[in-house]
């Protein structure tokens, strides 16, 4: 295994070396990096700028020599060089841009993996049903949509129409409610199994529930000042718990069921005590050496930090594990797992609830002026407020680019997981599992789903490798200062330093993750052996 990894890494290093040479030489052929100096009228100033850029890009030596200089600087001094026109160190640019890009793509990746795999599995379970055909068609449409075209439309709808709608009181029109309810009914009809009375019941239930929900949201102007409150929070928590139990362990597995229910109870009971904590009453300023309460750059008052939230999430998971372990009976692992997942999901609901409570404060802040959904950049400058207001601000900047980015990966994950699940369903061990008399839930979740995830794990690893550089267009449309714009700007100004910095980072990540994908495949599937 070690020999295999070393061999792969050495091969990858040589590939990157060869490709970096080609990219560098090509970039130098793309145009004249001194072109911009034509705009400078003062001749002495202009000569000075030309000299500086010539020095930065070593334009006075042949191209191959330039590449070798660059490589030497990178390998020996770990220095990416300077931006040709501004003379900023590229490492500073990277330190600023890499987190931005990661912030942009993380949410989209996680959401499309979770939603895509769920939809893919449901359509595989209902193969050749109306839902299956509908989802297949929709994924084809998603694959065919040009990202920038959708992004421009999203920008107009989200940034202008949605904000106008909020300003006008956030009421849904009757037509809108009826149409959405009909769509919900259609999905309910096609996803239900069995004969038509059951399908009709599902459709009616889904349609009526959706219509009631939308009518309630519209009547209370909920979108202007959203939030769950204790009652809805409890209902959602119970719903999540029931769903987790039904999917993961089945209702008849009493120990795990009780552990999850107790965890849910603890979550609901801790709703009020946690309010004060989440609103930044300082209990302690550091926990295990991590600063959890600090002064944010914008506000004088102490406010909680993201680490505090992460810590609370971990505590929630630990409580779940503890409850599961204590109540687990003969299968402690299973009970602990179920309770921990329940606890984690409930803590996410609590986070969302808390963020929603600050929405009104956020939208009415002086710099937001009642137009919350943003289409430009990663955050609003000069916005003051608590941690939760900043969270809302980040969310409102992220929501549109995330939707644009999700389109294609969502479609891809849906297709892959459906195909993978169908492949597994044809295996002999699934027939064996059914023949043993296991419940359909056990067959699907335990025997089929886990094996279907093996090829998906490698696809996820591949995807992550591509995603750092893959948001080029989305970054351009929504004007995020990320890795993609570094690359495009560098290419447009014929600056090999920036292009190469992007190439090294993206190529390096791709190599590492591709290797990881292969190792993961071998680790997950005992039939595959690497290095032979």
């Amino acid at each position: 295994m070690a020999v295999y990894i070393v061999r792969r890494l050495v091969a990858a290093a040589f590939i990157l070396l060869a490709a970096s040479f080609i990219v560098y030489i090509l970039t130098t052929f793309a145009g004249d990096p001194l072109e911009f100096t034509l705009a400078i009228t003062n001749p002495t100033q202009r000569q000075a700028v030309i000299d500086t850029v010539t020095e930065t890009l070593s334009l006075d030596v042949p191209r191959v020599q330039r590449y070798l200089n660059w490589l030497h600087r990178l390998v020996v001094e770990q220095d990416f060089g300077l931006v040709s026109q501004t003379q900023q160190p590229i490492s500073d640019e990277l330190a600023r841009r890499l987190p931005t890009t990661i912030k942009l793509v993380t949410g989209a990746t996680i959401l499309s993996i979770v939603i895509g795999i769920s939809v893919g599995i449901i359509t595989a379970l209902r193969q050749y049903s109306g839902l299956d055909y509908l989802v297949t068609f929709v994924t084809f449409v998603f694959f065919s949509l040009p990202v920038f075209w959708v992004a421009v439309i999203l920008k107009a709808w989200g940034g202008i129409n949605f904000n106008d709608w909020l300003r006008d009181g956030a009421h849904f029109s009757t037509t809108f409610i009826v149409v959405i309810a009909l769509v919900a009914a259609l999905i309910g009809w096609s996803s239900a199994g069995g004969r038509w009375p059951r399908k009709a019941a599902f459709a009616a239930g889904a349609g009526v529930a959706m219509a009631a929900l939308l009518a309630w949201i519209s009547a209370n102007q909920w979108m202007l000042n959203p939030g769950f409150g204790p009652v809805i929070f409890s209902l959602i928590s119970i719903g999540i718990t029931v769903l987790v139990i039904a999917v993961l362990v089945g209702w008849r597995s009493s120990d795990a069921r009780n552990a999850a229910l107790v965890t849910c109870g603890i979550g609901i009971l801790s709703y009020f005590p946690l309010q004060a904590v989440l609103n930044g009453v300082p209990i302690t300023s550091t926990l295990l050496g991590v600063p959890v309460v600090g002064h944010s750059a914008n506000t004088p008052a102490p406010t909680i930090t993201i680490w505090f939230i992460v810590l609370l999430g971990l505590i929630a998971i630990l409580i779940g594990v503890a409850v599961g372990y204590l109540m687990g009976g003969y299968d402690r692992g299973q009970a602990a797992r179920t309770a921990a997942i329940t606890a984690f999901l409930i803590s996410i609901v609590m986070f969302v609830d808390q963020a929603m409570k600050s929405w009104y404060e956020y939208t009415n802040a002086s710099v937001i002026r009642g137009r919350p959904i943003k289409t430009i950049g990663a955050s609003t400058e000069r916005l003051e407020g608590s941690f939760w207001v900043i969270v809302d601000n980040t969310f409102s900047h992220l929501v549109l680019p995330t939707m644009a980015l999700m389109l294609i990966s969502l479609a891809a994950y849906t297709r892959y997981s459906r195909a993978s699940m169908l492949e597994v369903f044809n295996q002999d061990y699934i027939r064996t599992a059914r023949a043993k008399g296991l419940t359909e839930r056990t067959v699907v979740v335990r025997h089929a789903f886990r094996n279907a995830l093996i090829p998906l794990a490698t696809i996820v690893a591949f995807d992550i490798s591509g995603i750092i550089g893959g948001a080029v267009i989305t970054e351009r449309v929504f004007e995020w200062e990320g890795m993609g714009s570094l690359f495009i700007d560098g290419l447009q100004q014929f600056d090999p330093n920036r292009v190469m910095a992007f190439f090294v980072i993206v190529g390096g990540v791709a190599v590492v993750f591709n290797l990881l994908a292969d190792i993961m495949y071998a680790a997950l599937d005992p039939r595959i052996r690497v290095g032979e």
């Binding site: 990157l16 970039t27 084809f140 920038f148 075209w149 421009v152 267009i473 993206v506």
Partner: protein
């Protein structure tokens, strides 16, 4: 338990289910050649057939309306002509007069006018469709040739040839397409669509080469290849006459999807300013040019995008239909529920028939 008469016609027969399946399949393909089977399966794929008709319609519309090269088309204007400035809104209407619309009509400017440049939008869009289709055609030809040759040589000869070619493929994969297209226009001293088309064709064959190589690796161990070798067939004959025809399915499907993705890549490049250069217009450059007009004059922005979506969607469906048609494992298998039901019914019937 309900009584089932022994001669009830709804009762399943006492035969293994596998036989019923294979009978069903046999009857479907009996006496047909491989290409007939594929053609028949493809024609039966409803989505693919609709998509094929739509694509042919789009191609005919784009080519005949504004003409090709020196040949004039039937449309009043072409993409360079200045049109008299009138109402800039689109005149295309599909709503009949009795529903309160303007009646079903095409009008003088079905997609509206770009008043700033004084161009007819329908002519511009059709010209964009032509360019984009021409780009993916060049891309398809180049990528297929290079991909098939590299993949088959690599897969057939193996050893160091394989290692060298596959490492070369890896290098090509790592190089960002944007760099290539940015350089192509400047370095090749070409304008218009050609730099983009050639650059895309020269650098998007990697996936196809890997697929063809994998097919060759599997096929070269088969008996018919051994037989050809024993008969002293030269390598070239084995590659092109014996192995390659078996890969046609993979290649055709992959190239179709590659061309669909090619349109998206071409438009994305055009959008970023690295694609088709003036004086040519492509769908990508049109969308890019009119992105600011979406609020005030949405037709300028929407129509080119609609054609991108339509073309890619058609190619996706055709690719899907071809995949189903070429896949020998593609059987019409009864679903799990049918299987369960069949087994239950049979078990029930057996219990009944064995009862005294």
């Amino acid at each position: 338990m309900t009584e089932i008469e022994p001669d009830d016609p709804s009762r399943p027969e006492h035969r293994p289910l596998v036989d019923e399946q294979s009978d069903f399949l046999q009857a479907e393909v009996a006496g047909l050649s491989q290409s007939q089977i594929v053609r028949r399966r493809f024609f039966r794929h409803r989505g693919a057939m609709i998509a094929l008709f739509m694509l042919v319609f789009i191609i005919i519309l784009a080519v005949t309306s504004v003409g090709w090269g020196p040949i004039p088309g039937w449309w009043k204007w072409d993409h360079t002509e200045l049109v008299p400035i009138t109402d800039e809104r689109p005149t295309l209407s599909l709503r009949p007069t009795f529903l309160g619309g303007a009646g079903i009509q095409f009008g003088d400017h079905p997609f509206g006018i770009d008043n700033q440049a004084g161009k007819d939008m329908f002519a511009l869009t059709m010209r964009g469709v032509q360019t984009s289709l021409a780009v993916i055609f060049v891309l398809g030809v180049l990528a297929t040739t290079i991909g098939v040759v590299i993949g088959s040589v690599s897969g057939y000869y193996g050893k160091w040839v394989d290692a060298a070619l596959m490492r070369f493929t890896d290098v090509i994969i790592v190089i960002p397409l944007l760099v290539i297209t940015a350089v192509a226009g400047y370095a090749l001293k070409l304008s218009g669509m050609w730099p983009t088309a050639i650059a895309l064709g020269l650098f998007t064959w990697t996936g196809l080469a890997r697929l063809v190589r994998a097919e060759f690796l599997a096929l070269r161990e088969r008996e018919f290849v051994d037989a050809a070798r024993v008969a002293n067939a030269p390598d070239r004959r084995i590659i092109f006459k014996h192995i390659l025809p078996n890969c046609v399915g993979t290649i055709v499907v992959s190239v179709t999807l590659l061309m669909g993705a090619g349109i998206l890549t071409e438009t994305a490049l055009g959008f970023l300013g690295f694609g088709v250069r003036p004086p040519d217009v492509s769908l990508g450059t049109l969308v890019s040019a009119y992105q600011g007009a979406y609020q005030s004059r949405p037709w300028l922005f929407l129509w080119p995008g609609v054609f991108v979506v339509a073309i890619v969607l058609c190619l996706q469906f055709i690719g899907d239909g071809l995949r189903d048609a070429f896949d020998p494992r593609q059987k019409r298998i009864p679903g799990q529920k049918d299987l369960d039901r069949g087994l239950m019914d049979r078990a029930e019937a057996e219990i009944l028939s064995s009862a005294p």
